[in-house]
C-alpha cells in the first residue's frame, strides 16, 4: 500500500494533471469529429489503466485523472500521432503498469511463454490419450 501511495503522490505532483476543482479538459467528455480517429482513440483508451481507480480503464472511469488522460489521448490522436506511439509515451512516463497490453520484456516473458507451453502440453496430452485409445480398442 505504501508503494502505491507514493506512486499516487508522485502522479498527483505531475503538473499536467488537473485538480479536482478545475473543469475537465475539453476532450475528456467530448469525442473527436473524425469517427476513424475517435475509434482509434477509443481502442487505445480501453487499454490504458486508470491509475487512481481499481481495475478500470481510462475509457470507463469518472475519475478526474482518467478524464485528463482521455484528453491527452484524443488530442494527440487528433494531431496525427500513432496510437502505439502514445502508448509508448504513457508507459515511459507512468511505467508499464499503465498499459493493459503487456509487452514482452524481462519481467513479462512468462505471460507469453506459458501459453506456448500450454499449447504444447495440451497437444501432447491429446495425441497421447487419443492415439493410445486407438491402438488398444476394447
Amino acid at each position: 500500500m505504501k508503494g502505491f501511495a507514493i506512486l499516487l503522490a508522485l502522479l498527483a505532483a505531475t503538473p499536467s494533471l488537473a485538480q479536482d476543482s478545475m473543469p475537465p479538459a475539453p476532450y475528456a467528455y467530448n469525442q473527436l469529429d473524425d469517427p476513424a480517429q475517435e475509434a482509434e482513440a477509443r481502442e487505445l483508451m480501453e487499454s490504458l489503466r486508470c491509475l487512481t481507480c481499481q481495475s478500470q480503464s481510462i475509457a470507463d472511469s469518472d475519475a478526474p485523472m482518467a478524464g485528463d488522460m482521455r484528453h491527452q489521448v484524443r488530442s494527440r490522436i487528433a494531431s496525427g500521432e500513432h496510437p502505439e506511439h502514445i502508448r509508448g509515451w504513457m508507459m515511459e512516463r507512468y511505467g508499464d503498469y499503465i498499459s493493459y497490453e503487456p509487452r514482452m520484456s524481462r519481467t513479462t516473458w512468462p505471460l507469453f511463454a506459458v501459453p506456448l507451453l500450454l499449447i504444447l502440453v495440451a497437444g501432447i496430452a491429446l495425441s497421447r490419450r487419443l492415439r493410445r485409445s486407438k491402438a488398444e480398442p476394447s
Partner: protein
C-alpha cells in the same frame, strides 16, 4: 443477546463438524478388521444438526442487521439505520465476515442434504465423503471463529452505522454473491464425493451419477452468478462494459471453466465408465478454483499486494486452508491415482474423444485465465507492476476457445465409443457452408475486427449445430437431459453472438446538450427534455428526462422516455450514476447523465449496443439447460429406484408365498 446466540451456534456447528470428521476417521480406520465402529452412526446426524446450528447463526446475523444493532461491530461498519430493509438484509452478506458465514451455512446445508437423503452409495464411501465435508467445513468455521467473527461487539455502541457502499445498494448485489456461493459450495460437495471415492478406491459410474446433480447445480449457480454479475457491472458502473477480465470477474470465471470441464467428464464416467482419474482430478481442480476465488476476493490481495502484506492475517488463514485442502487432495490423488484404473477405452473419433478434446481445451483456457490473474500479483510482490487486460486475455484465450467451440459443434453428433467422420459428413458440410456464408457476408458488409468476425460465424454454426442432435428423433421422446444439452449449447451460441455483436457494432455518443436539444446515437435521436431533482430513501439525485425516437420516425411520434440519474448518497457520501436502459429486441440504448457544464449544458453519454442483451439471454439459456438436465437426471434416478424397490418387494412377496406353500 441475539449476537451471542449466533456466536454460540457457530461454535456448536464447528464442534459438530469435528464430530463428523472424527466419526468418519474412526469408522474408516477400523472397518478393515470386521466390526463397524459405533462412531460411524454419528456421522449423518452430526451433519444434519450442524446445518441446524449454522442456520441459527446465520439467522442471528440477519436479525442484527435487520434491527441495525449498532453494538455489533460488523453492523456498525456496514449498515445504516436509514437503509431500505432489503439492503439491510443483503448487507449482512455484502461484507467479508457475513459472506463467509453464508458460505459455511450453505455448505452445512448441502452436507445435511446428502446426509439425510443420499443412500445409493456404499455406506463406507458416504462416511468418507461426509468426513471430508466435515473437514472442509471445519477449516471455514475456524476461519470465522478465530479471524473473522461476525458477531464481535463494540465496547461502546456506535451512534450510527457507516453505511454500505452505494454501488452495492442494488438488487443485483442482493442476489449475485449468494448465487455464486451456492455454486462454490456445490463444487465443495463434488470435491467431498471425489475424496470419498478416492479413499474407498471406488471411482465408479454410480459415484458419477450421485455427484452429477451437485456438479450440475453448482454449474447452474455459477452460470447465473456470472451472468448476473456481468449485467450488474454493465448497468451499475455506468460505462456500458460487461466484462473487463478484472481479477474479481476472473475469480468467478475460473471455477466455471473447471466446473464445465468436470460436468462433461463426469457424464462420460456415468455413461461409459471412462475417464475415471481425469474426473477426480477435475473435481479437485474445480473446488481449488472456488477456494482460490474466495481467497482472491476476500483476502484483500487484489486491492494491493502490499496491503495484504501489512495485514496478512485473514489472507494467510485462507492461504493455509487452501494449501491444506488442495495440497492434501492432490497428494491423495497422487497416492491413489495409480490404483484408479483408467476405465473403458474409446476411439479418437467418438463422443468421448470430442469431450476429452474439449476438456483439455477448457483446462488450457483455465490455465490462461489463472496465469493472467495471478501473474500481476506475483510481480507486484517483487515491486514490478504489470497490468494484464482484455488486450491480452482476448487473443490468448481465443487460441483455445475457438477450436473448442468448433469441437463443441461436432462432438454431440458423434456416437459413443467409436464413430467415423464420414457418417456425419452431411451435417458437417452444412455447418461449414453456414459458417463460410456468415463470414463472407459480415466481412463484406462491415469492417470489423478478426475476433468478433469469427465469433459471429461460430455463433451461427453453433446455433444450428446445437439442434442437429434432435434430428430424426421423436421430440416428445427425447430425454430431458438431452434437451438440457441442446438448450445450453444453443445458449453458448446466443451469448457468443451477443458478445461479438456488442464489440463489433456498438456506437458511442458523448454529447453536451441544452434542454430541448437533440443528439444522435446509433439509429436513435435523443432529446433532453429537462433535468429535475428527485429524492430517494437515502439519496438525492438529478434526473434527466430524455425522449428517444427512431431516426426515421416523425417528430410527433410517441417517444420512448428514459430517466438516467446522477445520485448522491449521504451515508457514506458518494456519487453514483444510475444509467437508463431502453431495451429493444435488437439491442439496448444506454444513457447516462453526467455533470452540468459552466455554460449550463448537460453532459450525456449514450450508447447503442446492438444485440448486447443476447449475452445475458445466452447466460440464462445455459443455466436453464443445466436445470433441465438436473430435472431429467433426478427424475430418471427416482423412477429407477422405485422400479428397483417394487421389484424387491415383489420378490419378497413371492418368497413369502413359497414359504407359506
Amino acid at each position: 443477546m441475539i449476537a451471542e446466540i449466533g456466536l454460540a451456534s457457530l461454535w456448536l456447528a464447528a464442534v459438530l463438524a469435528l464430530l463428523q470428521l472424527a466419526g468418519g476417521v474412526l469408522a474408516f480406520r477400523t472397518d478393515g478388521t470386521g466390526g463397524e465402529n459405533p462412531m460411524g452412526m454419528f456421522i449423518r446426524p452430526a451433519a444434519i444438526v450442524q446445518a441446524f446450528f449454522a442456520a441459527c447463526s446465520f439467522v442471528a446475523l440477519l436479525y442484527v442487521f435487520a434491527v441495525t444493532d449498532l453494538s455489533v461491530k460488523l453492523v456498525a461498519a456496514n449498515s445504516h439505520s436509514a437503509k431500505p430493509m432489503i439492503f439491510k438484509l443483503a448487507g449482512s452478506w455484502g461484507n467479508h465476515e457475513g459472506s463467509m458465514l453464508l458460505w459455511v451455512t450453505v455448505m452445512a446445508f448441502s452436507g445435511a442434504l446428502i446426509a439425510a437423503l443420499e443412500r445409493r452409495l456404499p455406506e463406507r464411501m458416504m462416511q468418507a465423503t461426509l468426513a471430508a465435508q466435515g473437514f472442509v467445513a471445519l477449516g471455514f468455521y475456524a476461519f470465522l471463529l478465530f479471524s473473522s467473527n461476525p458477531f464481535e461487539r463494540l465496547e461502546v455502541p456506535a451512534p450510527e452505522g457507516m453505511g454500505l457502499n452505494p454501488l452495492l445498494q442494488d438488487i443485483g448485489l442482493a442476489l449475485h454473491p449468494p448465487v455464486l456461493y451456492f455454486g462454490y459450495v456445490g463444487l465443495s460437495v463434488a470435491f467431498s464425493f471425489a475424496v470419498g471415492a478416492l479413499l474407498t478406491r471406488q471411482v465408479t459410474p454410480e459415484f458419477a451419477r450421485v455427484s452429477r446433480p451437485w456438479v450440475l447445480a453448482a454449474w447452474v449457480c455459477l452460470t447465473m452468478g456470472i451472468t448476473a454479475g456481468s449485467y450488474w457491472a454493465y448497468y451499475e458502473l455506468g460505462w456500458g462494459g460487461w466484462w473487463f477480465w478484472d481479477p474479481v470477474e476472473n475469480a468467478s470465471l475460473m471455477p466455471w471453466l473447471a466446473a464445465t470441464a468436470l460436468l462433461h467428464s463426469i457424464s462420460v464416467l456415468a455413461a461409459r465408465d471412462a475417464l475415471r482419474a481425469w474426473t477426480i482430478l477435475l473435481g479437485v481442480i474445480a473446488f481449488s478454483m472456488s477456494m482460490l476465488g474466495t481467497f482472491l476476493v476476500r483476502s484483500g490481495i487484489l486491492t494491493s499486494v502490499h496491503a495484504f502484506a501489512v495485514d496478512p492475517e485473514r489472507g494467510m488463514f485462507i492461504l493455509v486452508l487452501l494449501g491444506i485442502y488442495i495440497g492434501g487432495a492432490l497428494l491423495l490423488f497422487g497416492l491413489r491415482a495409480g490404483a484408479v484404473a483408467e476405465g473403458e477405452r474409446f476411439a479418437a473419433t467418438s463422443r468421448e474423444g470430442a469431450l476429452v478434446v474439449n476438456n483439455v481445451l477448457l483446462s488450457a483456457t483455465l490455465g490462461i485465465v489463472l496465469l493472467g490473474t495471478l501473474y500481476p500479483l506475483l510481480t507486484e510482490a517483487f515491486d514490478v507492476r504489470v497490468s494484464v487486460g482484455p488486450n491480452y486475455f482476448n487473443p490468448v484465450s481465443a487460441i483455445f476457445v475457438l477450436p473448442m467451440l468448433v469441437v463443441m459443434a461436432i462432438g454431440p453428433l458423434l456416437r459413443w465409443r467409436r464413430d467415423r467422420l464420414e457418417r456425419v459428413m452431411k451435417p458437417l458440410a452444412l455447418l461449414t457452408v453456414i459458417g463460410a456464408v456468415v463470414l463472407a457476408i459480415v466481412a463484406l458488409v462491415a469492417d470489423i475486427a478478426f475476433l468478433p468476425l469469427v465469433g459471429l460465424a461460430l455463433a451461427a454454426i453453433l446455433a444450428v449445430a446445437s439442434f442437429i442432435p434432435l434430428r430424426r428423433r421423436k421430440l416428445t421422446r427425447v430425454p430431458l437431459a438431452t434437451w438440457g444439452m441442446v438448450v445450453a449449447h444453443f445458449g453458448i451460441a446466443v451469448a457468443l453472438f451477443g458478445m461479438a455483436s456488442e464489440s463489433a457494432f456498438s456506437s458511442e455518443r458523448l454529447a453536451a446538450l441544452e434542454v430541448g436539444e437533440t443528439a444522435q446515437a446509433g439509429p436513435w435521436r435523443v432529446t433532453l427534455n429537462g433535468v429535475d431533482p428527485v429524492a430517494g430513501p437515502n439519496w438525492t439525485a438529478l434526473e434527466g428526462r430524455l425522449a428517444v425516437r427512431a431516426e426515421d420516425a416523425s417528430r410527433t411520434s410517441e417517444p420512448i422516455m428514459m430517466a438516467p440519474q446522477s445520485r448522491t448518497f449521504w451515508a457514506p457520501v458518494q456519487q453514483t450514476t444510475e444509467s437508463a436502459l431502453a431495451t429493444r429486441w435488437n439491442g439496448q440504448l444506454y444513457a447516462v447523465l453526467g455533470n452540468q457544464l459552466d455554460d449550463g449544458r448537460w453532459q450525456l453519454r449514450l450508447w447503442w449496443k446492438p444485440f448486447v442483451t443476447f449475452i445475458w439471454y445466452g447466460g440464462l439459456l445455459i443455466a436453464f439447460g443445466g436445470v433441465l438436465s438436473i430435472i431429467g437426471r433426478v427424475r430418471k434416478d427416482l423412477t429407477r429406484r422405485s422400479v428397483r424397490s417394487r421389484l424387491a418387494s415383489r420378490r419378497a412377496d413371492e418368497r413369502a408365498l413359497e414359504a407359506a406353500a
